[in-house]
C-alpha cells in the first residue's frame, strides 16, 4: 500500500520552503529599495543644505568650501542602483523612479559644483557620461526601436569605475541617455549631445566614442598632475623611511 500521505507531507514541506524563499526574497528586495530611497533622501538633504549655505552666505569664503561640500555617497548609490536594476529588472516602476531621482540628484550636484567653481575658481574634476541601456523606456513610445546601441558602454563603464576608484577627486556623473526625464533631456539639448554613445562631456566639450584611461588623462591633464604629485609624495615617504632606518 503506497504511503500517499508521505507524498502529500513532502509536497507541503517543499511548497512551504518555496513560499518562504519567495517571501524572503521579496522582503530583501524591498529592503534594498528602501535603502536606496534612504540614501537618496540623505543626498537630497546634503545637496539642499549646501545650496542653502551657498545662498545664505553671499560672501562665503572659498576657504570654507572643503572637499566634503559635495556628497560622497553619490558613487555608492550608483553601484547599488545598478545592482537593484539587474535584480528587479530595468522596467520595474520603482526602479525607474529611483533612477530618475538619482539622475536629478546628479544634475543638482553637478550644478552645485559649477557654482563653486565660478565663485572660487576651485576646479572640481568631473566627467558626465551618457550610456545606453537597451531595456529602458525611450523618450517617446514611437521611437522604441530607435534606441541607440552602445557596444562600448560596458568597457567605458570599467574605465570610469577604475578612474573614480583611483581618483576620489574625480566626480563621474552617469546618465542613461534614454531615460524619460525632462531635466536630463534639457541637459542633452544644451550641449547638443548626439546619440553616438558612449559620450563623455568634460569641461563643456563633448567627446564621442570609447575613451580609454590614457585618453581621458590626455583630456584631463589634472589627473596626470595628481599622478605626479602622488609619485613625489611616495618618493619622499621612501626617503624618510630609509633615513629613519639608518638612524
Amino acid at each position: 500500500m503506497l504511503e500517499w500521505k508521505k507524498y502529500a507531507y513532502t509536497f507541503f514541506i517543499t511548497a512551504a520552503i518555496f513560499a518562504t524563499a519567495i517571501l524572503a526574497s521579496n522582503y530583501f528586495s524591498q529592503k534594498r529599495v528602501n535603502e536606496i530611497k534612504n540614501i537618496e533622501s540623505r543626498i537630497a538633504v546634503d545637496i539642499l543644505s549646501s545650496e542653502t549655505q551657498f545662498s545664505l552666505l553671499a560672501e562665503l569664503s572659498c576657504r570654507d568650501i572643503s572637499q566634503s561640500f559635495l556628497s560622497k555617497e553619490l558613487a555608492e548609490l550608483g553601484d547599488k542602483l545598478s545592482y537593484t536594476e539587474e535584480q528587479r529588472g530595468a522596467d520595474n516602476p520603482e526602479v525607474m523612479n529611483l533612477k530618475e531621482y538619482y539622475s536629478l540628484l546628479q544634475i543638482k550636484d553637478f550644478l552645485l559644483a559649477q557654482r563653486i567653481r565660478e565663485k572660487c575658481g576651485t576646479k572640481t574634476l568631473s566627467i558626465i557620461y551618457f550610456y545606453s541601456n537597451p531595456s529602458t523606456r525611450s523618450t517617446s513610445s514611437g521611437q522604441a526601436n530607435l534606441r541607440p546601441k552602445c557596444n562600448d558602454c560596458q568597457k567605458e563603464g570599467f574605465v570610469l569605475t577604475r578612474l573614480s576608484e583611483d581618483y576620489p577627486e574625480l566626480r563621474v556623473y552617469s546618465f542613461d541617455y534614454n531615460l524619460d526625464l525632462s531635466a536630463l533631456q534639457t541637459l542633452i539639448s544644451i550641449y547638443n549631445i548626439e546619440a553616438r554613445l558612449p559620450v563623455l562631456l568634460i569641461d563643456e566639450k563633448v567627446h564621442y566614442g570609447f575613451k580609454s584611461i590614457d585618453d581621458i588623462k590626455e583630456i584631463i591633464p589634472a589627473l596626470k598632475q595628481i599622478d605626479a604629485a602622488r609619485l613625489k609624495a611616495e618618493k619622499l615617504e621612501q626617503q624618510k623611511a630609509t633615513t629613519s632606518e639608518t638612524n
Binding site: Y7, T10, I13, I17, A21, E35, Q87, K155, F158
Partner: protein
C-alpha cells in the same frame, strides 16, 4: 525566453528539493524503526552460503580478495568459495592455485564469456541456501556476512545489499568517489526502507538461491547484470533489503579516464535497462520504486546535464566580462568591501542554499552511518565542488550512445 528558462529552473528545483525532503523524511522514519548498530539476532541454524569470485586478469588483487573471504566470521563448513576464472590471459589461474588445497575453496576455469556467464556457471554448481558474488578487486569486512545473514530471518527477504566503500583512496578522483560511495550508503538504506532498490551491487549482494529459480539466471544486460537482476526481482515483487554496516571495500578507478569508462558503462546500462523495464516507471503497482525512485533516477540524468551547462555558460559569460575588463583597464585587485546589499537573495539563490544545506546534512548523516571519524572531510568538499561537473560528462556520453545504439565495454 528568459522567463521560460526561469520557469524551468523553478520546476527542476522544486522536483529536486521534493526528492531531498522525501529522502530525509524516509531516513528519519528508518532511524526510529531500527535500533542502531547492534547485530540483529541470528537464526539458530545458519544457512549455507556460496560466494562466487568471477575473475578475468586479476592476478594483482585476487589473493587479497580470497584472504578477506577466508577471514569472514562464519562457520567454515557452511561457507564455500568458488573461484571462477573467465578465461584469463594473465597468471590469475596460476596465482589462485595456492588456495587449491583449501577445503572451502573450489577453482573453476571456463572460456571467456563475460561476468554474467561466470556467475551463471557458479549458480549451476552451487547447492547452498544463499549465494553471492565478490569481485576480485573487492574485500569484505569479517562481520559482513553474519550481519547480512541476520536480515534473512525475514522470510520474505530475497536479497540483501551491503555498503560499498572505497579501498584506501588517495588522489582527488578516488576521494570524490569515496564521498560518492558514502552518500550511496545513505541512499541504499533509504531505498531499502521504501523497498525501492533497483541495483543489487555486484560485490557481496547475497541472494537466496531460489531467486534464480524463480526469475532466471543472470543476463548480459549491457554489462550491468547487477542492475538488471534487481529490476527483474522488483518486477516479480521480490523483496530486496540492505545492511548499512556490512562493509565491502572496493578498488576505485584512480584516474579520470578509467572512471569515465566505468561510469559510462553504468549510466548506459541504466538507460538501456530502464528502457527494457519501462513499464515500471510511474506505475503504482511497483510502489515507491515505480512512482518516485525510477522516474527521479531517469530525470536526474537530464537535470545534471542541464544544471552543469547552465553553470558553465554563466561562468563563461562572467569570465568573458572579466576578460574584457582586464583588457580595458588592466589587472586589478578589487577592493573587497563586504556589503550585505549585494548578497544573492533571489528566489533561486535562496532555494539553492536550502538544497545545498540538505545535501551537506545528508553527507554528514551518511558519514555517521559509515562510521567515519569526522563529520565532513576533504573528500566531501571535492565531491561537492567537482562531482556535478564530472558526472554530466559520462551521462551525456551514455545518453548519446543509447540514442545512437553504440555499445559499452568492460575494460
Amino acid at each position: 525566453m528568459h522567463f521560460i528558462s526561469e520557469l524551468i529552473n523553478y520546476i527542476l528545483l522544486f522536483i529536486a528539493l521534493y526528492f531531498e525532503v522525501f529522502l530525509l523524511i524516509t531516513y528519519f522514519e528508518t532511524r526510529k524503526i531500527e535500533k542502531g548498530f547492534e547485530l540483529m539476532p541470528l537464526p539458530e541454524k545458519l544457512p549455507s552460503v556460496t560466494i562466487f569470485v568471477p575473475c578475468w586478469n586479476e592476478e594483482g588483487t585476487i589473493c587479497k580478495t580470497i584472504f578477506s573471504l577466508l577471514k569472514l566470521d562464519y562457520p567454515k563448513h557452511l561457507l564455500s568459495i568458488f573461484i571462477i576464472d573467465d578465461g584469463s590471459t594473465d597468471n590469475t589461474l596460476k596465482v589462485v592455485q595456492r588456495f587449491a588445497r583449501n577445503k572451502q575453496i573450489k577453482i573453476w576455469s571456463k572460456e571467456n564469456g563475460g561476468k554474467h556467464t561466470a556467475l551463471n556457471y557458479g549458480l549451476a554448481l552451487a547447492t547452498s541456501d544463499l549465494v553471492g558474488c565478490l569481485d576480485a578487486d573487492s574485500f569484505v569486512h569479517p562481520l559482513a556476512l553474519k550481519k547480512i545473514v541476520a536480515k534473512f530471518m525475514d522470510k520474505e527477504m530475497m536479497a540483501v545489499t551491503p555498503s560499498i566503500r572505497v579501498h584506501e583512496p588517495r588522489n582527488i578522483i578516488e576521494l570524490i568517489q569515496k564521498s560518492e560511495y558514502i552518500l550511496g550508503v545513505f541512499m541504499r538504506k533509504v531505498f531499502a526502507r521504501l523497498n525501492a532498490l533497483y541495483i543489487t551491487p555486484g560485490p557481496f549482494t547475497i541472494f537466496r538461491k531460489s531467486v534464480f529459480e524463480l526469475v532466471g539466471n543472470y543476463k548480459h544486460a549491457y554489462n550491468t547484470e547487477d542492475m538488471e537482476i534487481a529490476m527483474r526481482m522488483q518486477k516479480n515483487g521480490l523483496k530486496i533489503g540492505n545492511v548499512h554496516d556490512a562493509f565491502i571495500y572496493t578498488v576505485a578507478p584512480k584516474n579520470l579516464r578509467v572512471l569515465l569508462k566505468q561510469r559510462l558503462r553504468w549510466s548506459y546500462g541504466f538507460i538501456k535497462n530502464a528502457i527494457d523495464y519501462k513499464q515500471m516507471f510511474f506505475s503504482p503497482q511497483y510502489g515507491h520504486l515505480g512512482i518516485m525512485i525510477l522516474p527521479i533516477a531517469g530525470f536526474s540524468l537530464f537535470t545534471s546535464i542541464y544544471f552543469a551547462l547552465q553553470r558553465i555558460s554563466s561562468w563563461i559569460l562572467s569570465g568573458w566580462a572579466r576578460f574584457v575588463e582586464w583588457n580595458t583597464v588592466g589587472l586589478h585587485w578589487p577592493n573587497f568591501n563586504f556589503d550585505f546589499f549585494y548578497f544573492n537573495t533571489s528566489i533561486i539563490g535562496l532555494i539553492s542554499i536550502v538544497a545545498v544545506v540538505g545535501v551537506i546534512s545528508i553527507i554528514i548523516m551518511s558519514r555517521h552511518l559509515t562510521q567515519e571519524k569526522h563529520k565532513i572531510g576533504f573528500d566531501s568538499i571535492y565531491f561537492l565542488f567537482l562531482y556535478s561537473f564530472i558526472a554530466p560528462i559520462w551521462i551525456s556520453k551514455a545518453l548519446y550512445r543509447a540514442a545512437f545504439a553504440k555499445k559499452t565495454s568492460w575494460r
